[in-house]
Symmetry: none
Subunit: 192 residues, 4 copies
């Protein structure tokens, strides 16, 4: 394996653009976010951005959910109750961050048009928290902590969907009491 020919990419531009995107996303929202404004804020130009990302959605998806953010795994304990609560709290933490809150509705809208992007973000979640949760639930069914007829996919839909809808309907991050209530509801629904 040899190094790529030609002038190498300036990684500082990657970083500056991602940072500018995250900042502007929070400031003006997804709809009013323009590539030109990102370029200006990052001190670079539109072509330099299009060289790296295919468009606004691609760029925002990387800015809002950087690869190293989902590297915080759900710590599996032997208490299903604890783990479900951690799952809910993790999803809240991930999606309630200002950048994510600003990005998510726009990204969801783009998914309808761009299946590739859809798959990319989905895959990333599957290999991250969603994968962990799925494995933990399968394990819980096997060990008898959860009902034998529990559908892990439906359970994950319920966990993620509750948080997503709470955010979309009310806009602000769910508080601890909401998290407790939702975790209790879901745990009772799953437990043996």
């Amino acid at each position: 394996m040899t190094t790529a020919p030609g002038r190498p990419r300036d990684r500082r531009i990657d970083r500056a653009v991602l940072a500018a995107t995250a900042d502007l996303l929070v400031e003006v929202g997804y709809a009013d976010l323009t590539i030109a404004a990102i370029a200006e804020r990052a001190g670079t130009t539109k072509p330099a951005i299009y060289r790296r990302w295919s468009g606004k959605a691609d760029l925002v998806h990387e800015a809002a959910f950087p690869s190293d953010a989902d590297r915080v795994p759900v710590p599996a304990t032997d208490s299903l109750a604890d783990d479900v609560r951690v799952m809910v709290a993790t999803v809240v933490r991930l999606f309630a961050a200002p950048v994510a809150r600003a990005a998510v509705p726009g990204l969801l809208a783009e998914f309808a048009t761009d299946p590739a992007l859809h798959g990319a973000l989905l895959g990333r979640f599957r290999e991250g928290p969603m994968g962990h949760a799925h494995a933990r639930l399968v394990d819980a069914v096997a060990s008898g902590q959860a009902r034998p007829d529990l559908d892990p996919v439906a359970a994950i839909d319920a966990i993620g969907g509750s948080v997503l809808l709470a955010l979309l309907l009310r806009g602000d991050a769910p508080d601890d009491s909401w998290i407790d209530g939702t975790a209790a509801l879901l745990l009772k629904g799953m437990a043996a």
Copy 2:
């Protein structure tokens, strides 16, 4: 109360525009839907549309969720299990229709920019199926069918969110087994 002066609006244009919007929405998706294309398909012009609706979001929201569609109430029985299953199925029926599937992500994205629209659609749901569900759950808590510490809001988030996320993640309408699994999960989470 006297009739308005001048030439009256042509109601056929209202209908043609709504129909064209629904059709195009399914054909090209929310993002690629343009007012000019709707006008052309409906055999009318852009100003005639802007005279009736404030913009794309307003128009789509009426085309995808016509006022008479949510007139299908959740039939309250005295079985919480039956009612929860009906709630889930109703939400699926409402959001899995092709027009709704095409409209929802776009509308969610517009909510971030346009709080008025957010409130409008939300209010409509609150007075429709969501309101029914909320009342039924409050009643269930009071009658002892549900746990006394159940938070009806969290429960509704879970019902709606499960369906929404299932649609967003997988695109196609959830099948009966998913509905059964989700209804069972949620019911067990709520029941006394």
Copy 3:
């Protein structure tokens, strides 16, 4: 004949754009002339310009050689000597104007790419001064003022080409002594 439907063009925009084009052409030259700068100077926008003209060449050609400028015919006297001198002076007047001087090289270059534009400007000249000159020379041959074997086309090439090359080679407008010398040369070449 009925009037065109729709909102009519704002003729003031036409005029403002043509004026701005002529001004900027002289200020910055053809190569550095941008549509965006013209739009800004004219107080309008790029799309409004592209609605009217197909591009820079089309616009410049109209700005540099407005339809009413070539409406100054060569007055035919019965002296071929006088008329040839007027022809030379007319071409000088037409092409030595600052706007024309700035426009001509650029337009010549575009002709290679855009035959339609070539034909348009050519036709306009044919119906203007070039047509007059051609008619006068044919007449001169018939009346015996000019040599019977004179080719009017070659003669017109010589008149126009002399002026054009003088401008292209030296940049500044030919003075009266150059005009006298060239007129004398050409007259002697044509006369019987």
Copy 4:
């Protein structure tokens, strides 16, 4: 004088680039000619080209008028008639070649922006055919073959300009009858 240190330039690249430029110039015209395309056609890269020429104009000017092409002098006879005809034919031969026809309008346009290039090409012609012609005409005035008041500069403008305009107006190379007619016209204009 010692030889330059470092790796010497590859002369094959010079030749390949000039050939590619001439070919592409004829194929796509000056305006649509890009340095990247030339580099690709020549099997080299943009920096290798910019190392040798300052830009498109410089490169084209060398490709269209190679230094050895103007080495064909006007053979001075003692007949002014013969010599004028040769002058006209020489200019036609020089400018009617496909490469020159494609290059000239573009180069003329660049002259407006780049006086250095203007001077360079002009100087080359002055030391070539234009210089020869000028000397011959001065001589003709002195020897009495031409009118004593003949302005050699105006005469050269007329010769070159006639050919240039004929090419620009009609695009194809002038035929022999046009050359005869033009030579006759100019000769009669100059002769004593």
